[in-house]
């Protein structure tokens, strides 16, 4: 603009100079002729209109001024939105950490797990994904789509550092394992070829383990650990973030340990993992691997028929079924946010109606409709941002609380926090909700006819029929969404109660479980026999036994045959069973009833005839109504020797209360030397089992100083089954309660407002003869209609939405009548109260005062 005018003046000056005027005189004349340059500029600006940025800045100033002017109102709106946004931020921070953050490896999307799939039956747990070494070798040698492929097996083992023994996670890995993750040691070096030979003793350790025992990683290489009763030298330390899988402390070349099962295609004892080549997609890789699996099926029908292969991105494999639960929570908390929006929209609408006059004046002074809408939107945005800031701060604690109460099975929780991506999400949410709650009132109020409104006497607000309708719609929405949330919460709570009433098949109370691993596998049997003798004589001990995995922690599965082995062993078609190794007295200690036959006894030892005890499910499955005692069972476990069934015990829900019991076979620990290196001593006590833990630890160390032990009560172990259902039920119910409060406040607010608005009308009615009763009824009826509409829509919505819950429910159907009835009753009673109190005020209106009010 300035350029243009300067050019103009210069051209004029030149023309004048050409015409013969002296330059100074010409410049003066040009200026005089032009007049005020600033005036012209101002005129131009006006002609062009106010710039968008200027107007926006003005809107922000207005908005802040407006909020300062009515602090109570602003506080209420900000408070409601802060609850909604804060809760969403907290839940999202968990979702982000668990589901969205990439894994901390280079190019993590290319890392996939390779899992066994038995086509005829669904996988019961992670054990089903394990693969055998020969299968892996064929996959590895025949495939072309991987940069690297490795198998690994992981378990907690007893490690002696210096003189003390403790549990640490040890993972056996094959050569390409570290290439799959693309990691190099930060101190020391990788394994050499010699260190991968049978009997070699080299290990890599994690940075965390190095810090714990050697102060810093650089000091660890060269140090010696004792694992499996032999010395192992640390050759290198892996980087800080690397502890795959499951917080591994020590990695070990798989080829250094003699593994008799490494030649059997049926010994599915390892997990497999690979890094896809850069330009290979998952479907392409799956196609190739499937065809390899099909070739193996044909080549080895005995072991491989019905065996498939699934590729899963490592992130999906890690997250498992935590994803569904977290998305459920995100959905629930999203509904809370919608209710908060409806609530604030109602408030803003009420306030906007009060501002009709202001808007009319602004419209009369030339503000366009879009300008007014924009200003109200900016006000909404300012509200949302302030609420978002407060909510984000609150979410820091909220996230910590969520992590604290979350079930331990949810992976990657430790990384949850309010960070950059989470704040971006929050900002996005703020923007969206500000439009949601500010736009309807803005459109509403900007529609006001300036003329009409200004003519109406100042102070007497025009209550448009549409304004009321819109408010009613908001309240109906709030109630409907609350019904959905409460129904969901109710169903989950009832499922939790049902779960807790399921009999697990054993009595977990008063039972201490102490896991123990002696350093020497050869001396393990003797150690446990001795320890059991010691423990049985302790005061307060009612019964004692030992089992390789306490109930609920299935460690081994196998397949079984009754009476004779088929000519061709087909593991795919043989029935599966849970395999456990136990000591005499275990069933009594755990409270598993012996149905028939006998318990194991000390005579069921190595060299004696092999015996087995089966559970009811296996008896029913294999023998129908005949007596299983005396029959012979073969198990694909450690050997295929025949074992005589000497007893039948009750079923135990090994996979948690939600899953039916499955067939189980128990074997005496003295006859299965390969599988008794780690046992959990289970002790039933007359008093608090926790008090016995120290004595037991002491007894164990007296027997063998280098044994690792870990004691917990059975109650704690069992509690983990309920952690996830409790987590989601409590949270959804909590969100439902927040929703209920918001909705009740919404109903109350709207009724109170309506009563205030209609006091003149009510006064008139009463002056004309209506009784207080009539008026009360009128108001109750009006409120009741809104609530009824909300309930009805909510029930329809709940019927649809709760179907999404099916996988989380136990013994409760999504259309559970009791839940629906309770929700309707609860909401009905509470909202009637929320209507009643304001309505009662209407019947107390003094006709004369109301009519004279203005």
């Amino acid at each position: 603009m300035a350029d243009e005018m300067r050019a103009h003046l210069e051209m004029r000056v030149e023309d004048l100079v050409t015409a013969g005027t002296p330059r100074t005189e010409a410049e003066r004349r040009a200026r005089v002729e032009f007049g005020s340059i600033d005036g012209a500029k101002e005129g131009c600006r006006q002609a062009r209109g106010v710039s968008f940025a200027d107007a926006l800045r003005q809107d922000f100033r207005y908005a802040l001024r407006g909020l300062r002017r009515s602090p109570g109102f602003a506080l209420l709106c900000v408070g409601i939105m802060a609850v909604g946004i804060g809760a969403n931020t907290a839940v999202f921070s968990v979702v982000n950490a668990v589901l969205l953050k990439p894994l901390p490896y280079r190019d993590p999307r290319r890392i996939v797990t390779l899992s066994n799939v038995v086509k005829t039956r669904p996988a019961l747990n992670a054990l089903a994904k394990q693969v055998s070494v020969p299968d892996f070798q064929d996959w590895h040698d025949q495939s072309t789509v991987f940069d690297a492929m490795a198998y690994y097996g992981t378990r907690r083992v007893s490690v002696t550092v210096g003189t003390s023994a403790e549990y640490a996670r040890l993972t056996r890995v094959t050569r390409e394992f570290f290439r799959v993750f693309d990691v190099q040691p930060v101190a020391g070096r990788p394994f050499t070829a010699d260190e991968e030979k049978l009997g070699a003793g080299a290990a890599l350790i994690s940075s965390a383990y190095a810090r714990q025992h050697y102060v810093e990683p650089s000091r660890a290489p060269g140090q010696v650990l004792r694992v499996f009763d032999r010395p192992v030298t640390i050759v290198g330390v892996l980087p800080q973030a690397f502890d795959f899988p499951d917080g591994t402390a020590i990695w070990f070349p798989a080829t250094t340990i003699a593994d008799p099962s490494a030649t059997q295609r049926t010994a599915n004892n390892n997990r497999a993992i690979g890094r896809l080549k850069r330009d290979i997609t998952l479907p392409e890789a799956s196609a190739e691997m499937t065809s390899i699996a099909r070739r193996l099926e044909q080549a080895y029908p005995q072991s491989n028929s019905g065996k498939g292969l699934a590729l899963t991105p490592l992130l999906d494999d890690t997250v498992g079924d935590a994803g569904a639960m977290l998305y459920l929570l995100l959905g629930a908390v999203g509904l809370v946010l919608l209710i908060a929006c409806a609530n604030v929209a109602t408030l803003l609408l009420a306030k906007a109606t009060g501002r009709t006059h202001e808007m009319a004046i602004r419209a009369a002074l030339g503000a366009s409709r879009s300008r007014i809408v924009r200003q109200l939107l900016v006000e909404g945005f300012v509200l949302a941002i302030v609420a978002g800031a407060i909510g984000s701060v609150a979410a820091v604690w909220g996230t910590r609380a969520l992590v604290a109460i979350a079930p331990t099975q949810v992976p990657r929780l430790a990384q949850a926090g309010v960070d950059g991506p989470v704040l971006t999400f929050t900002l996005l949410v703020c923007s969206v909700v500000s439009v949601l709650f500010a736009l309807p009132p803005a459109l509403q109020v900007s529609q006001v006819d300036a003329n009409e409104s200004l003519q109406a006497a100042a102070g007497r607000t025009v209550v448009g029929g549409r304004g009321r309708q819109l408010r009613d719609v908001f309240v109906v929405t709030e109630i409907a969404l609350t019904v959905i949330l409460l129904t969901g919460g109710g169903l989950l709570l009832r499922s939790l109660v049902a779960l807790q009433h399921v009999s697990l098949g054993f009595r977990p109370e008063h039972v201490l479980a102490m896991e123990a691993t002696p350093q020497s596998r050869q001396r393990a049997a003797a150690f446990f026999t001795g320890l059991l003798t010691d423990v049985t004589t302790l005061p307060g001990v009612v019964a004692a036994g030992a089992i390789n995995a306490p109930p609920g922690n299935v460690d081994s599965t196998g397949t079984y045959w009754i009476d004779h082995l088929p000519k061709e062993l087909n593991l795919g078609s043989a029935p599966p069973t849970v395999m456990s190794v136990v000591a005499p007295g275990t069933f009594m200690a755990l409270g598993i009833p012996l149905q028939s036959g006998r318990d194991f006894r000390e005579g069921d030892a190595a060299g004696a005839p092999r015996t087995a005890i089966i559970n009811e499910s296996l008896a029913r499955q294999a023998f129908r109504n005949s007596d299983p005692l005396g029959h012979v069972i073969f198990c694909a476990f450690d050997s295929l020797e025949p074992m005589t069934i000497v007893g039948v015990v009750g079923d135990v829900r090994q996979y948690g209360p939600a899953r039916e019991a499955s067939p189980e076979c128990y074997l005496p620990y003295l006859q299965h030397g390969f599988n008794n290196a780690t046992l959990s001593i289970v002790v039933r006590t007359s008093g608090d089992p926790g008090l016995l833990a120290d004595t037991m630890r002491q007894k164990a160390h007296e027997r063998s100083p280098d044994v690792s032990v870990k004691a917990t009560t059975m109650d704690v172990l069992v509690g983990e089954h309920f952690a996830a259902p409790r987590f989601r039920a409590v949270l959804v119910a909590l969100f439902g309660a927040v929703a209920l409060c918001l909705a009740l406040a919404g109903i109350y607010g709207v009724m109170a407002y309506t009563v205030a608005q209609r006091s003149r009308e009510i006064g008139l009615r009463m002056a004309l003869g209506a009784t207080a009763q009539n008026v009360l009824w009128m108001m109750l009826r009006q409120g009741g209609q809104i609530v009824a509409a909300g309930l009805l829509i909510g029930l329809v919505g709940a019927a649809g939405m709760t179907r999404l819950l099916t996988t989380f429910l136990f013994e409760i159907r999504p259309n559970d009548g009791i839940t629906y009835a309770s929700v309707v009753a609860l909401l009905g009673v509470m909202s009637t109260l929320a209507i009643y109190f304001p309505a009662r005020r209407s019947s107390k209106v003094e006709p004369l005062i109301a009519l004279r009010a203005d």
Binding site: E4, M5, A7, H8, E10, M11, G35, G43, A47, R48
Partner: protein, 114 residues
């Protein structure tokens, strides 16, 4: 002899600008000179109100502005007529002509015609 410049009638400046620009793309100073030229130096546009008028017309989408180079190599903003401006000029010209002829006719009325 120089004719005495006449004041513009209110509302006619926009029309004159549109006319001036319709003949040939012009910069602001050029518009001034062109109006003086086509009105045979009768009409004198107040320079201070020229630019607000130009910005107003641009804002209404009747003219377009583009930076270019003037005849004596100076950077200047050139205005051209948009299709909407052309239509407006046609309408305004027609209604102006109606108005002028009506007023002229009115002023030339004689007592006989009453």
């Amino acid at each position: 002899m120089a004719k005495k410049p006449a004041d513009l009638l209110p509302g006619t400046l926009d029309m004159l600008i549109l006319k001036a620009v319709s003949l040939k793309p012009l910069h602001g100073y050029g518009v001034l000179l062109r109006i003086a030229q086509i009105s045979r130096d009768v009409l004198d546009v107040p320079q201070g109100s020229l630019y607000p008028a130009l910005y107003r017309l641009e804002h209404q989408g009747l003219i377009n502005a583009e930076w270019g180079e003037s005849e004596n190599k100076r950077r200047a903003k050139f205005y051209t007529l948009t299709p909407a401006g052309r239509k407006r000029l046609r309408d305004e010209t027609a209604s102006w002509n109606r108005l002028v002829s009506a007023i002229a006719h009115s002023l030339s009325a004689t007592p006989d015609e009453v």
